[in-house]
Symmetry: D2
Subunit: 410 residues, 4 copies
């Protein structure tokens, strides 16, 4: 292993990564370059650079990656209708590979030997950061302070901060851990650690509790092109702007909360509460449009692979041959997923009302119960006889297999 | 083929099956035995027997199959979290095999040569009825009048009814076709045939439109045992009574509407609106409890098979070796899915608030971000290095495969 | 339906399709254009055109499609390692879509309203021909004489032939039905209809019985590029020439016989014997090279989809959105499947002896049991602890779920 | 962690586990109980007990587990047709869980705190041993000397042996590492570490090289009951005796060699050569019989899960909820896999010649090309029209979706 002389650290500006910055400098006797990604987490980016430098960084990158995030990570994942364990829209998981990619790029530009992150040793994020790094540049080392240092409690951290003149925010400790970006906000820990406890009224950030939402439903339309949303109410938006707009609408109408116990990649179960207002609307509208435009067998095959795709993203295998190959299949399936969906938003509900498409596979003539000239009902008889032939055989297994085959067919 | 002397007809008492009864008698010159199944469709069963006999049946069976329906068909299917094309809870599909099973039993008791149903030649139900019959008694023939007769329009039917003295209900023609049972109500046809049209305000039967639901949320608890619900708010119910109670609660709070374009087994797309109030609550609570009690790999494997299981049920392969074998796997997966889920019902929302189980796999010590003594964070490093090893190889493909091969392998 | 004025018939020059040619002309009172595809079946193409014209065709196409067949159909399928029901290399199935594609093209050029084929109503080929036609030009009708005509026995056919002055070959009736092309020869029917009967010594066409093969093994090398074979023993070949060369080698050494009972798409089981000499070598060498160059997770995902892919091809869904999307994934997985495999051929055995690749993922340093500096064995401990964590939980389900969580972790 | 006072060691009597025995005693200052399992590896069991005791064990178990191994591990796995990465019959992988199970039982009887094994830190076996232990008794610790000690080279080991008076066998070092049991023998390492090298003539143990096999083919019959073999040539055998008999036959005729590069669970690729003579015959005969007795959809579903099942076994997840649930499905699928298969053995070839079953699903009347009265060929037309309906839609996507939408939907 090479001596580490320079490290690129994923830096949020908060207490923990400030401590990490100092700790790495001291412990590894090396330079630290910080990278702060704006993924739409809604926190202040102003002053981050100064803060990093004043805490000891030799250089501080602050990167607006919102468009890349939504266009190249969120949208491809939504093309796949990815849901982890049937419910989680993967808001945290999808952000990690992009952050790692940028850190690797900066490490290569800066000639660093390692990258570092503030994820703990019990969670998924450490795995996601490090798998992405290994995939993109296997020569880069990773420093994971939470797995290395001796600071075992909050008190240890506070003491370290004080000793190293790091500002400690005065705000009261939040009762949970939060991760946020343009796609979602997650809540973990604290009172949520007992899975029987309902989240309290404070456990909301971007979504209005349904009970406090407007009494009037709002109907919107979303236009899709090849599986990606491109317009809301006939107004075109860039990817990040579109997701932001959907977040605003979903948040206003109480849409997109999930409360679940999920399985981490590192082996234990954890409980999380997620807010994904825009993503929830997007997922509902996208699947609805697929109903109109996607071939049945294509859909059933794809559906059987959603759990696998979601697992790949959740575990951190975004940059992997299997995710890329599966994405090729998914993207192929989306070529005709173009059209418009009307959705009603109302107090937590997101209800598709209608859908249309230039590539609709729906034929009213075929579906109607009324008389038609397209479909000969008599065809159904031959169809049923043949799709059921094997079932008839089952009851005759003993007969056909027995010696008197002659008798068996009447 | 044997001469048909007696037929068992699935009889609802409505206009269509009354016409069919007459038509079969006349056309096949045979006796007709009717079978009317009470699956909780909420229609009047009184008087059905008399009506069948007076329309020409030689015998009329009226069977209360609600408990068998929920216990042996609905619950096993919900153990599998079955969802067709991501949304449809299969309320019609799951009822057909049971009706067929009873018809076959009666046909065998009565010495009939055929069974008959009123499903059209364009839908899924004909397939479901006939596959079940083929699987249970391949010697029984099926008469499918809609595929055989010359009555091509509603006017033809009315004329046939008049000529044969069959009562025509005076009620105005409904703008859609309805199917109902204890699990759900479906709406198809009419104004819904244009998938861009939103369903009108009349397109509701058992569910209160969210806008008209109580302003107060209601919290309930559901107890499960080995994957099946057994109690609501600590009160035990029989399967059918439990589902009825959940329907009442869900209906009151506007829960369980689905509006979608789906793919029929016979090859075309159709648009349906479904009400599954109790089933929607049940599905949400069941999956939520699984989060706590089911092993991760078990869940991911099972999730990848849900589309296949749902397809089997939707297509009519309930009585098939593949469904039965898959059910064996599902049931095995449910042995420890025992516990309680708290759910909040509010204007269309069904939100799990908390869950507990005597077989919980959740360990707060493992999940917490606080210090613990169970899990050594350092283990994560070895874990990540090995689960990522193959990704490092990828970047080194050319290196490993490159000059080494030439140097050492020839 | 439009009046049929011109039909394109898949014409082999044999008795059956000659009868069909006449029958269509007479029965439909229309013109018949024949299309004979050379897919390497090894039959005489000379004189086919004259024969077709003299039997009544208005025009006769004879098409050499060998290169297209191997390059665009056989090779893509072998990239997927397709095996139907674990054994059948799909030699007949893969030829049908290409024949249909050419028939559709000719029908469009010639302004025909229908295509026709000589496949019976009990087999898979009718489905494959007609699905391809429906996919490529849904307005074209298909005439399937075997499902339509009154000629129910061999005697009926002979009589029809005599009445219509069609030459009847004097050769003795073969005891089975044969289909052949560059990829394979199949035997069905006759003595093979009893699945307990072993195929007799005459049931060989291109493969030497192992007992009569050379006593000396032969070692060959095959070079692959992105999943496709390009050279044998360092000599480059075109796709069709390469497959022909492998057929020669495999046939000489008795390689590539399969004898199996398989499941047809139309619902019954049938027994077939297949000769696929070159394809068997190709499949073995291809999979062997993948062992060296393909990522583990990519391979496991792909392997789980082989049965589905093979089913698509077998059933006749070559031209379908699901096959094309899955192919996109497969092709992506093959980008680095480049290298060389040494194979020993000997009396029915096809044994990979060694493999190398510029994109090898095999690292001797990683795999060796000897000391190394790449892999820290201590990492395995953390890995095992985390991949097994969930299993430990299982034994503690009752404890963790019980009231005294505190006690449960030692 | 509890102090370790007693350890149960998997002991082969060879040099490595003798060294381990001593090393554990010294290093952990504890008692060592040895367990030697006879799984049919064909090594001397006599004298093992004395050797263990004289090397320092306080107690030595020698267990004949051959019948349990074949009946409860090998046969269930063969019911599933398990093949890892398309080729490996899992001979080593399937033995590990049974050894662990017995070690855990002995540890519990003896009051030991830990178990130990001689597997290295780079292979799969460490994982298999330890996952089984974690699953069966999560409180037991595992000592893995190869991951812990300072003995880094063969020389270090020799020195340790000399210092501790452990007998060093005089036999020349074998050029590879061997694992053997009733199911198979594996060869790894040494000259095989270069995947381009063909295995030399010494790399054979139980299989005669095809070139040296008898010139006369031998035909045998195997009877199966519910998926398990019960008799050879009409003679019934116990499970272990049956597998031994098949090994003898397969070995004599050169059957069952595999040479491949495979993917280990710990992340790297390795190259192995396997001999599985009896298992190869068994797998071929079993699949062949399934062709006759197993329903098509059951088989296709099962086939899609073989890679997953094989992965579970290979990775060491025998004792896991997902393997047990999948086994429940597999076993259900085998209920009617009863019958007899004729197989020809000849110089490396294992060729099914015929098969019969009391539960045959094959009907000659259905399959024949001759006239019949069971199957109406006209049914195929309706079948094809409906299974292809969705493909026709695809070409009409723009039409159906096109002007209709504008005209009627706005």
């Amino acid at each position: 292993m090479k001596k580490i002389e320079k490290v690129v650290l994923a830096y949020s500006g908060g207490l923990d990564t400030s401590i990490i910055l100092k700790w790495i400098k001291t412990n590894y006797d090396c330079e630290v370059v910080t990278m702060t990604a704006d993924l739409g987490q809604g926190e202040e980016m102003d002053g981050i650079e100064e803060k990093a430098l004043s805490t000891g960084a030799v250089k501080a990158y602050v990167e607006d990656m919102r468009e890349e995030f939504v266009r190249d990570y969120v949208f491809p994942m939504f093309r796949a209708n990815a849901l982890y364990e049937g419910r989680y829209l993967l808001g945290t998981a999808i952000a990690r590979p992009l952050i790692s990619k940028r850190m690797v790029e900066i490490a290569e530009m800066e000639g660093a030997q390692a990258v570092s992150h503030g994820a703990t040793g019990k969670g998924n994020d450490q795995v996601r950061f490090e798998l992405a790094t290994m995939a993109l540049n296997p020569r880069l080392q990773t420093i994971a302070p939470w797995r290395e240092w001796e600071l075992k409690s909050r008190t240890d951290l506070m003491n370290f901060a004080k000793e190293n003149s790091i500002d400690i925010p005065v705000s009261r400790k939040k009762p949970w851990s939060i991760d946020a970006n343009l796609l979602h906000t997650s809540f973990e820990g604290g009172e949520l650690e007992d899975p029987w406890n309902a989240p309290g009224p404070d456990c909301y950030r971007n979504i209005t509790p349904p009970e406090m939402c407007p009494d009037e439903p709002e109907e919107i339309s979303i236009d899709f092109e090849a599986g990606d949303p491109i317009a809301i109410n006939n107004v075109k938006y860039s990817p990040a702007a579109l997701l932001a707009k959907l977040n605003e609408l979903g948040g206003k109408h109480g849409i997109g909360r999930v409360d679940m116990v999920e399985n981490r990649f590192v082996g234990m179960k954890s409980r999380g509460v997620y807010e994904t207002p825009g993503g929830t609307i997007l997922a509902a509208a996208h699947r609805d449009l697929e109903g109109l435009c996607m071939d049945r067998e294509m859909m059933h095959l794809r559906d059987s692979l959603i759990p696998k795709y979601a697992e790949m993203v959740y575990y951190g295998y975004w940059f992997s041959p299997e995710r890329e190959a599966l994405q090729a299949m998914i993207d192929k399936s989306q070529e005709k997923v173009t059209g418009t969906v009307r959705v009603k938003l109302y107090k937590g509900n997101c209800v598709p009302l209608g859908r249309k498409s230039p590539f609709s596979l729906y034929s009213p003539e075929l579906a109607t119960f009324e008389e038609d000239y397209v479909y000969d009902q008599a065809d159904a008889e031959g169809f049923i006889k043949l799709v059921g032939l094997r079932l008839k055989g089952r009851m005759q297994q003993s007969k056909w297999g027995g010696k008197d085959t002659e008798d068996s067919c009447e």
